[in-house]
């Protein structure tokens, strides 16, 4: 419950004032990888490190994660087919995969699984369009609904919570 509350706090605050639309969009697109790609400790740690270190919205990353999970489940058959085509159906790529598979740490990402590779590649391909789309959406939100939500009692209650202070550590500069 505490985690959910914190998440909602960060999301709402993020959408309103913490960071530029580009920072929020980048954070959401990065966080989407966590829900988009089947869970793998190495990949997840890498994404978290990027969310921590890059000057993007951490809260938006969590929002992106939450929103991407259902898409990940729904698109698994597509990821499987794409990954199958890349790993098995494209003999020209075999030397590349073979080299990767024998490079330290890389195999720990499970990239040689059809669903994982399909999800990873599609996320990489969609990253830039996703950032552009999300940035446009945030700008649009702030110009329309944003002001009304900021005046609401729900928003004021949320921002008054002490938990919000922890979140501020990771807000964009």
């Amino acid at each position: 419950m505490l985690a959910i509350l914190k998440l909602i706090q960060s999301l709402v605050k993020t959408l309103h004032s913490e960071g530029s639309p580009a920072q929020i969009a980048c954070g959401m697109a990065l966080g989407a990888a966590l829900g988009w790609i089947p869970f793998n400790l190495v990949t997840a740690l890498l994404i978290f490190v990027l969310l921590f270190l890059l000057n993007v919205s951490f809260g938006a990353g969590m929002l992106g994660w939450a929103l991407a999970v259902p898409f990940g489940f729904a698109l698994d058959p597509f990821f499987d087919r794409l990954g199958h085509w890349l790993l098995i159906g494209s003999p020209g790529l075999t030397p590349f995969w073979t080299r990767l598979a024998n490079t330290p740490v890389v195999p720990l990402t499970n990239f040689n699984n059809t669903v994982v590779l399909g999800a990873l590649v599609s996320w990489l391909v969609l990253f830039v369009p996703l950032v552009l789309l999300l940035r446009w959406a945030v700008v649009k939100y702030r110009a329309t609904l944003g002001q009304k939500v900021m005046q609401s009692k729900f928003y004021k209650a949320l921002t008054a919570s002490k938990l919000y202070n922890y979140y501020r550590l990771f807000r964009p500069e």
Binding site: L54, N113, F170
Partner: protein
């Protein structure tokens, strides 16, 4: 710029976060490892796997497994394998490539076949990786032909009623006749397509014209034209001769195929003899058939076990270097397919460089033992590793029932064709009592010697299993009724056998295995049965063969005659064409030579 791109103040929380992750891994590594061993072991063996404790020693780079038990899927009250302690020295660098390389495995307190404290839970067979190996072994066993033992007296030949539709000779003869007809038609059609009559007609006309040709009156141009015409005519004939030569080759190939079919008729007739014999229920009098009938099921079971282990080894240690596909890990999301990409001179995904096992033999009652086994080079990618997987085992059990074991083997999966071989000999082993199929007797072999050698090269099989039991005894089944004359004879024969000697040879392929069994029991029973029932059996068999010959002889002879006709027809057509063409060619060549000897007006010679 960097300040805007990076959030430096998050470095400390990040380090703390990563520290928490590492600490969590350290705390739960043993538990996760234990669960992984149980899950992977259960999946691999298809039986319950228990592990008391799992310890990771990071500084030593080793893993320790305590109280490992692998249940026997066929007998849930026993373990097929258990080890008191196993220490695995790992290659830490390989772990970063998601590879498991065990430099040395030392296992102590290993027991085979020990009784479990509580019965194991059954594991659904479909979940096991061993299911395909089990299916391969079962398929092998189902393809081994084991004859049924029949020792009943011959009743009467009048009982033989052969259904013509079951006779393979008739089916084969009809098919051969059809093939002969179509071959004959095809041959005639090809001969017609050679279009020889126009060639021969034009050659004859040219020869007739040239017979009247006078070089002296034709002039230089006329002679040149005549030479040209003759050369063209000879070329046309040579071209036709080449086409006839091609027809000759086709006819010869067709005749060879039909001859094979004719020979197959003889094999089909042998099968029909077998069918007729079966319908008559003739007694088995051949020593090899009796041995195969008595020991075939037991022999097949032994070889089936070896085929199972070979199939399992080939599943986990496949030959070749191509990428391999496996189902992905089980998870809430779709599993997908995991593809492995082996690379030459790199470490395999799994490698056990050396393993040493101290084994207790004889289940939970074993006390006095000294059996050690060693395995080297067990790997998931033999082609990468480039060396054989070898295993050896040696030991002696002393005491009341002394026993010695000596076994060894090698798995060569480094090349495109896998070669598995193993051999072993056990002396002093307590051989199990077994029932003789078709007889009312069981053999109690007592202690004896058993040896097994086995090689699978690709799908080619070669194996031998021998058993010698010097103190065998025979027990008549208590449930059997009154003893017939044959039964009494068998009892007398068996009581005269004090040493059981059995040799089974396996050959053929996995798809079509052949087992030949020889035993002194089979020889003795055959000799006794032959003396008692042999003449009647031989008479009945002769009548059965005569009945088959009567029913199929006419059609088979007709089919063979048809084959001979087609062959003769082909030869005749080719010989006729060759003869005519050769005759015409010689005529034209003679005209050409004659033209060369003639002279132009004024006595000018060519």
């Amino acid at each position: 710029m960097l300040t805007r791109l990076f959030r430096w103040k998050a470095v400390v929380p990040l380090v703390v976060f990563l520290g928490v992750v590492c600490l969590g891994w350290l705390l739960f590594a043993d538990m996760l490892g234990r669960r992984a061993v149980i899950a992977v072991g259960t999946k691999m063996t298809g039986a319950e796997v228990d592990l008391a404790a799992f310890h990771v020693h990071l500084l030593r780079g080793s893993v320790e497994l305590d109280g490992l038990q692998v249940a026997n899927a066929a007998d849930l009250s026993r373990n097929s394998f258990e080890a008191g302690q196993m220490v695995l020295d790992l290659d830490p660098a390989a772990l970063f490539e998601k590879k498991l390389v065990i430099d040395r495995l030392a296992a102590t307190g290993v027991r085979i076949g020990a009784r479990r404290r509580t019965p194991a839970r059954p594991i659904p067979k479909v979940a096991a990786d061993s299911a395909s190996a089990l299916a391969a072994a079962k398929a092998f066993a189902s393809k081994v032909s084991v004859p049924l033992l029949r020792l009943t007296p011959v009743d009467s030949i009048k009982a033989l009623v052969l259904d013509p539709s079951q006779l393979k000779s008739l089916q084969a003869a009809a098919a051969l006749q059809r093939r002969s007809d179509s071959a004959s038609t095809a041959l005639r059609s090809r001969y017609d397509s050679l279009a020889l009559p126009p060639v021969l007609d034009s050659s004859k006309a040219l020869a007739a014209r040239m017979a009247k040709f006078n070089a002296g009156t034709a002039g230089v141009a006329g002679v040149q034209q005549a030479v040209k015409d003759l050369n063209q005519g000879i070329a046309r004939i040579k071209d036709a001769e080449a086409r006839v030569a091609a027809l000759q080759r086709t006819a010869a190939a067709s005749a060879a195929t039909l001859s094979d079919g004719a020979r197959a008729l003889d094999a089909a007739r042998q099968q029909d003899y077998g069918l007729a014999r079966g319908l008559l229920k003739l007694p088995t009098v051949s020593p090899t058939d009796i041995s195969a009938a008595l020991f075939g099921p037991m022999v097949t079971e032994r070889f089936q076990q070896v085929v199972y282990w070979s199939a399992l080894a080939r599943k986990y240690m496949p030959a070749g270097m191509l990428p391999r596909k496996d189902p992905g890990p089980k998870r809430i999301r779709m599993a997908g397919t995991t593809v492995r990409f082996p690379l030459l001179h790199q470490l395999p995904t799994f490698l056990l460089r050396r393993g040493d096992l101290g084994v207790s033999f004889g289940g939970d009652s074993a006390r006095d033992y000294a059996f050690t086994a060693a395995v080297q080079g067990a790997t998931s990618d033999p082609a990468l590793y480039g060396r054989l997987t070898t295993f050896t085992g040696k030991g002696q059990v002393t005491g009341k029932s002394p026993m010695s074991i000596d076994l060894g083997g090698a798995l060569d999966h480094t090349g495109p064709v896998a070669v598995d071989s193993a051999s072993g000999i056990v002396t002093g082993i307590a051989l199990p009592t077994f029932q003789l199929p078709g007889l009312n007797y069981s053999a109690v072999p007592g202690a004896g010697t058993a040896s097994l050698s086995f090689t699978v090269r690709g799908d080619q099989l070669h194996g031998r299993w021998t058993v010698t039991a010097p103190q065998v005894s025979w027990v008549r089944d208590s449930s059997a009724g009154g003893a017939s004359s044959v039964d009494q004879l068998i009892g007398k024969v068996l009581r005269g056998i004090g040493t059981l000697s059995l040799q089974a040879d396996l050959s053929g392929t996995l798809a079509a295995p052949q087992v030949a069994v020889r035993s002194n029991v089979g020889d003795a029973v055959a000799s006794g049965v032959s003396a008692m029932l042999g003449q009647a059996a031989r008479d009945a068999e002769a009548k059965a063969r005569a009945e088959v010959d009567r029913q199929v002889g006419k059609q088979v002879a007709a089919a063979k005659a048809k084959v001979a006709d087609v062959e003769q027809q082909g030869n005749a057509l080719v010989a006729d064409a060759q003869s005519k063409l050769e005759d015409q060619r010689k005529q034209l060549e003679a005209r050409l030579q004659g033209l060369a000897k003639s002279s132009l007006p004024g006595g000018i010679k060519f």
